[in-house]
């Protein structure tokens, strides 16, 4: 049996299940309660689970993310929702200087089983302060796991293993995916360790994650029409990266394009290229290319925003460039 649900509903179901099954789990963040969730992910939760477990917070990103860390240290399993990655900059000290360090720095005595969820990405004309894609920053930090569910199944399935993880897990949900709908079976298996091939191919590996996955798949369709069979690899887990699966795709296709909505310089795409350099250099028939965001604050005007972000046609062009 499958049913059609949206990415939003999938994540909502996942949280609902977690709240039902484990009394240690609670949801905390700005407007998760009375407002019904900024993106309606927690609609109805307040009535069902009450204000203790569906905990609206003041506008205090540093404070409530730190409180989530403390609550995890104290035995709970918090899901902390930071409205968007843009505001998470205010909380980075707690994430990097506390959550990520505690286990190692305490000699293994303490752990922080915390899940932080946040919306990421551009594409909705929200302008420069609301359009960052900084998951690559988070993926730089040892001690935290970074996930990027890009499919309905991952939105539905990644939360449970994230909550079971003894360490902090940050989940990036791309704002452009929330209304995407798809079929969902009653049973699924979702790990939080591996990258996944979303479309098999043999001529070029398009490696991507999050909000860029649909664009990569669209590009692959266009390429197929032009006789190029692209394999589309969804990284899914941004830290630790699944190097083996990346290398396998690259070794098979011998060409690769990395697509990443982050700004190009210092992007996660660069890390993927570095891994390929280190592990699959001799398998390459051409240098790996990347399609990232232009190095500019993301503008409001639609035509400029579109021009700043990765798009299917740019991916197609980058792939074709590899065969030139």
């Amino acid at each position: 049996m499958t049913k059609k649900i949206s990415y939003r509903e999938a994540m909502r179901e996942a949280m609902h299940e977690a709240l039902k099954n484990d009394p240690r789990v609670f949801l905390m963040g700005e407007d998760v309660g009375c407002y019904g969730g900024t993106y309606a992910f927690s609609k109805g939760f307040l009535d069902e689970f009450g204000p203790e477990r569906i905990r609206d917070t003041p506008l205090s990103e540093l404070g409530f993310v730190g409180a989530g860390i403390g609550a995890a240290l104290g035995g709970l399993r918090p899901i902390v929702e930071v409205m968007t990655v843009n505001f998470s900059l205010l909380a980075l000290d707690q994430i990097v200087n506390s959550a990520a360090l505690y286990r190692h720095m305490s000699g293994g005595q303490f752990s922080v089983p915390l899940v932080i969820r946040m919306c990421t990405g551009a594409g909705r004309q929200l302008a420069a302060q609301h359009s960052h894609s900084l998951e690559g920053w988070y993926a730089h930090i040892p001690g935290i796991k970074v996930l990027a569910p890009a499919t309905i199944e991952d939105a539905r399935g990644m939360l449970a293993p994230a909550l079971a993880d003894p360490d902090p897990v940050v989940i990036f949900e791309h704002g452009g995916l929330f209304n995407v709908e798809g079929e969902m079976g009653d049973s699924w298996e979702v790990d939080i360790t591996s990258a996944k091939v979303r479309r098999a191919g043999k001529d070029v590996a398009i490696i991507t994650h999050g909000g860029s996955l649909p664009k990569a798949l669209a590009a692959a369709e266009q390429l197929a029409a032009a006789g190029i069979e692209a394999e589309v690899l969804d990284l899914r887990v941004l830290r630790p990266l699944d190097t083996a699966t990346i290398v396998a795709s690259v070794a098979k296709c011998r060409r690769a394009v990395v697509v990443d909505e982050g700004w190009k310089s210092g992007s996660l795409a660069a890390e993927v290229m570095a891994r390929i350099m280190e592990n699959a250099f001799y398998e390459l028939d051409a240098p790996v290319a990347r399609v990232c965001s232009a190095e500019v604050p993301i503008p409001y005007a639609k035509h400029l925003e579109d021009a700043a972000l990765p798009q299917p046609d740019k991916i197609v062009a980058a792939v074709k460039g590899l065969f030139a």
């Binding site: 009375c34 407002y35 003041p58 929200l126 302008a127 604050p297 409001y300 400029l304 700043a308």
Partner: protein
């Protein structure tokens, strides 16, 4: 702490201004109202996109407060700043074109509704990070003071921003260094869907000023007369003594937080009750009662505002898109 969400009686009483001045402020409130009503309509029509936060209901604050400043003063505002930009002197067409994303907009269409900037009128944004403008305001105040300029910096922010660490660090710096910064807290009882008593353990925001040894004033933000007179007081004090002042404007937002808000967190009755305190119609009634305004004069002001809106929309419609080749313009570190 609990907070009474019920609307107090509407503002009333004499208007201590000459007709000219009173009508200028009324006109400005009307200009904001009509601009925003049209903006909401244009959002529905897909002409404006992204986030749009309306100021409808709160017009008395920007109008009353900003008319107490001089043109040499700086203004820092939030994402709910159409009114501030307009009163400050930005052309309505530049605002509308910005919301359209046209290059005739005040920021070439790069910022949209949340990011109105205007060097000419010293409007330093339009900041969409809650509390984000506060440290900037302190810096602007510091620059003015160190350069010996007679220039205040006025910073608008909401009740929600008070919970942010930025608020605390900023008020402390401003008071410690005795900087000419006017902190204008637009307390509309909600930060998005979170009522103030669910965000602040101490809901008396003026008490917070004391914790920085900063003078604080509280005023009915629905009453343009009270807003203006209180702000004038604050400004006079600052020009004399040099240090910062905190003003809490008690106001209310009549519309949803943004165009995505289903408003399930507050009762319709509460909103309706507050609407009886609407800054435009209560001020209009007072002026009429005093004989400072006739219905015809009101209709005339309103017509002027509507015409200005129409012209602004036409300007925006006729505007052009910034060439895609200019995308990287104004970024020097590719």
């Amino acid at each position: 702490m609990t907070v009474d969400h019920r609307a107090p009686p509407p503002p009333s009483g004499p208007v201590p201004w000459d007709k000219d001045f009173a009508l200028r402020l009324l006109a400005d409130m009307l200009r904001i109202r009509r601009l925003e009503e049209k903006s909401a309509e244009l959002y529905g029509a897909g002409k404006i996109r992204g986030f749009l936060h309306l100021y409808i209901g709160e017009e008395a604050v920007a109008v009353g407060a900003l008319h107490a400043l001089s043109s040499a003063d700086n203004v820092v505002a939030t994402y709910r700043e159409h009114g501030h930009a307009l009163v400050r002197g930005m052309a309505m067409g530049a605002i509308m074109a910005e919301m359209y994303g046209k290059q005739e907009g005040c920021a070439r269409g790069r910022g949209g509704s949340m990011h109105l900037f205007d060097a000419k009128t010293r409007l330093y944004g339009g900041n969409a990070i809650v509390g984000g403008g506060l440290p900037l305001a302190v810096g602007l105040g510091l620059a003015a003071k160190m350069q010996g300029e007679d220039r205040l910096t006025t910073c608008f922010f909401g009740d929600g921003a008070v919970a942010e660490g930025a608020f605390h660090e900023t008020l402390n710096l401003a008071a410690l260094w005795k900087l000419p910064v006017l902190f204008c807290c637009e307390n509309n009882l909600y930060g998005m869907g979170t009522a103030i008593e669910r965000a602040e353990s101490q809901t008396d925001l003026c008490v917070k000023a004391a914790s920085y040894d900063m003078p604080a004033l509280r005023v009915d933000g629905m009453d343009v007369v009270a807003v203006h007179e209180t702000t004038k007081q604050a400004v006079a004090r600052m020009r004399k003594d040099g240090g910062p002042v905190f003003v809490e404007y008690q106001t209310y937002r009549f519309r949803a937080h943004s165009m995505f808000d289903a408003e399930i967190y507050r009762q319709k009755a509460e909103v309706e009750a507050w609407k009886t305190r609407g800054p435009i119609h209560t001020f209009t009634a007072r002026l009429k009662a005093e004989g400072k305004l006739t219905e015809d004069e009101f209709l005339e002001l309103d017509a002027v505002a509507n015409t200005e809106v129409d012209v602004a929309v036409a300007f925006a419609e006729a505007g052009s898109w910034e060439p895609v080749e200019d995308l990287l313009k104004d970024v020097h570190t590719p």
